[in-house]
């Protein structure tokens, strides 16, 4: 089995579980994005793989070999830290090549690899500068360069583009993608940005409170979420959750709500957010605030009625949030009728 395998990884610190029984496989050349709210354990996961944090149970396997006990210096992981962690007293060039120097790579080869990475990340002009003399985005690129230069067996990226402006991020995305998948090693990519995760990663792993919620390709997560957390965490504008009823909770994505002339739920438009390609309408209904997509060009009315195809309804357990089988259409109608009164 080639690639990276987190086999039942647990990490405890301060008497609190930070990671619980994490089970994740990343194939060679595959990029898996770790997505989740702040504090859910994304950085911890990367640190465990890098060997910087100890695990309390489970194993980390690389190409079938257990590397849980291997010294981080020998694991050959490239990692971009969330805080960059550049050496402040060294120039950009020295920051990048320190590891190569330590490993005894000859000067000519160092130089060649350095200039390749520098030009890729458009950092040539910054070679002699110290980190303090760089902007946030430039620092981030240097950190990325340092990880790339290492020619690692695993690549770990902790929000490597969070400080770049939207344009540069979008520009770099295809290059980064080519770079990451071309090198043929497993990549774990932490991001807050769903767009980035969908654009860069082959699969997305959603993490919450140290527990893996679901792993799958973006489409699957979107259309077939494993639980309420995944459903509401993914997709913008966020999914509409109806009030729980009889132990379950129904949900419909904003793009699946449709405007009808008769029947359905009466709604009052309280706010319209224009975001370029379309607008998001916030509707006050008997089911609480709902979000609805509306064409960008036309002005929304003050009141309208909404409905949805029962086929698009997602049902969750009201208490635990686990996904339930799709309710039969009659139940859906019941809900609407119930809400109408």
């Amino acid at each position: 089995m080639k690639g990276l395998h987190l086999d039942g990884v647990c990490r405890q610190a301060g008497g609190r579980p930070l990671l619980e029984n994490l089970e994740l496989r990343v194939a060679e050349g595959e990029c898996v994005a770790l997505l989740g709210p702040s504090g859910c354990g994304k950085t911890t996961t990367l640190r465990v793989v890098a060997g910087l944090d100890p695990l309390s149970a489970g194993r980390v396997l690389l190409d079938g070999e257990d590397i849980s006990g291997v010294d981080p210096a020998l694991r050959r992981v490239g990692m971009v830290f969330q805080s960059y962690a550049l050496y402040p007293h060294l120039s950009v060039a020295d920051n990048l090549t320190l590891g190569l120097k330590i490993r005894g790579v000859p000067a000519a080869e160092r130089e060649e690899r350095l200039s390749r990475v520098l030009s890729l990340l458009r950092l040539q002009d910054l070679r002699p500068r110290r980190p303090a003399q760089l902007s946030g985005g430039q620092r981030q690129r240097v950190a990325l360069g340092r990880a790339l230069l290492r020619q690692p067996r695993i690549m770990l990226l902790d929000e490597p583009m969070s400080n770049l402006d939207a344009q540069l991020r979008e520009e770099l995305r295809p290059e980064l993608r080519a770079l990451l998948s071309g090198a043929g090693h497993p990549v774990l990519y932490v991001t807050h940005d769903q767009q980035e995760a969908m654009g860069l990663a082959d699969r997305i792993a959603v993490l919450d409170q140290g527990r893996l919620q679901q792993v799958g390709d973006p489409r699957e997560l979107h259309h077939n979420p494993a639980n309420r957390f995944v459903a509401s965490f993914l997709g913008r504008p966020a999914i509409n959750l109806f009030p729980p009823l009889e132990g379950r909770q129904l949900a419909v994505r904003p793009e699946h709500l449709r405007v009808v002339s008769g029947g359905g739920l009466p709604a009052r438009v309280v706010r319209a957010e224009w975001n370029g390609p379309q607008q998001v309408l916030w509707l006050d209904t008997a089911a609480g605030l709902l979000r609805l997509l509306w064409p960008a060009s036309s002005a929304p009315p003050d009141t309208l009625r909404v409905d949805w195809d029962p086929e698009h309804t997602l049902a969750f357990e009201a208490s635990g949030g686990d996904r339930l089988p799709r309710p039969d259409p009659a139940w859906n109608g019941d809900l609407i009728r119930f809400l109408q009164h």
């Binding site: 962690a85 050496y87 007293h89």
Partner: protein, 267 residues
Amino acid sequence: MMRALLLAWSLGPLLWQLRTSFLLGEVLVGGGVPAGGSPWTLANYRLVLAGDPSLARVLLNSALLGGVTTALTLLLALPCAYGLHHLHGRPRAWISAGLVGAALFPTVLLFLSLLQLARWFGLANHLLALALPYTALSLPLAILLLRAAIADLPSELEDAARLDGLNALQRLRRIVAPLLAPAVASTGLLVFLASWNEYPIALTWLSRSDRLTLPAAMGRIASSSVFTIPYGPFAAATVLGSLPLLLLVLLFQRWIISGLTQGAVKG
């Protein structure tokens, strides 16, 4: 207003000494100015520089001893502090408590037993041998100060260095030590100062006049005459003795305030 008071409070005695050092002895003890003459003189300086031992020699001794003590202390304290930082749990707590205890222990209580040691090992009147007890006495505080400074470095810097393949010694030398420069400079200054000012051990270990350190020599000047206190020469020696310290502080000032870790991490 507060600042002016504070300044007067701390600089006043120094300036008074400076004035005293340039005054004639007769003026100092209340006699009048010799007729037609000026009260100012360089005689006090001439006296201490030409004395036995010459103050120049004494200052050289003190500087040499201070330099060796500082170098030795820092060389030992840095790896100790680094090691201590990487210990965890109970051992670290115990060692830290021990160091605090050692740092707080009054040196004066030790000088008799140290003298005994000096006798046994034949260290008396060897100037640089004094660096041994001085280093030993400065180490606890130096280790504690440097450890606090290491704890302030972003820990991810070392993590990054570990992934770069640096072992503990290489991390200390190439990452931690350079970033600690300001803390090392201020700790070194403290150690140097302590050595520069130390009296009881120097007094008991050194008797040959060409080996004396500044405090021991000052002691001699002060007790050289039973009947009059030589205010003038004493003040001159004080001024000369504080000049090198002033120089050191000015020299390292830039280091001490410059924030070297800037730009390491976000924000």
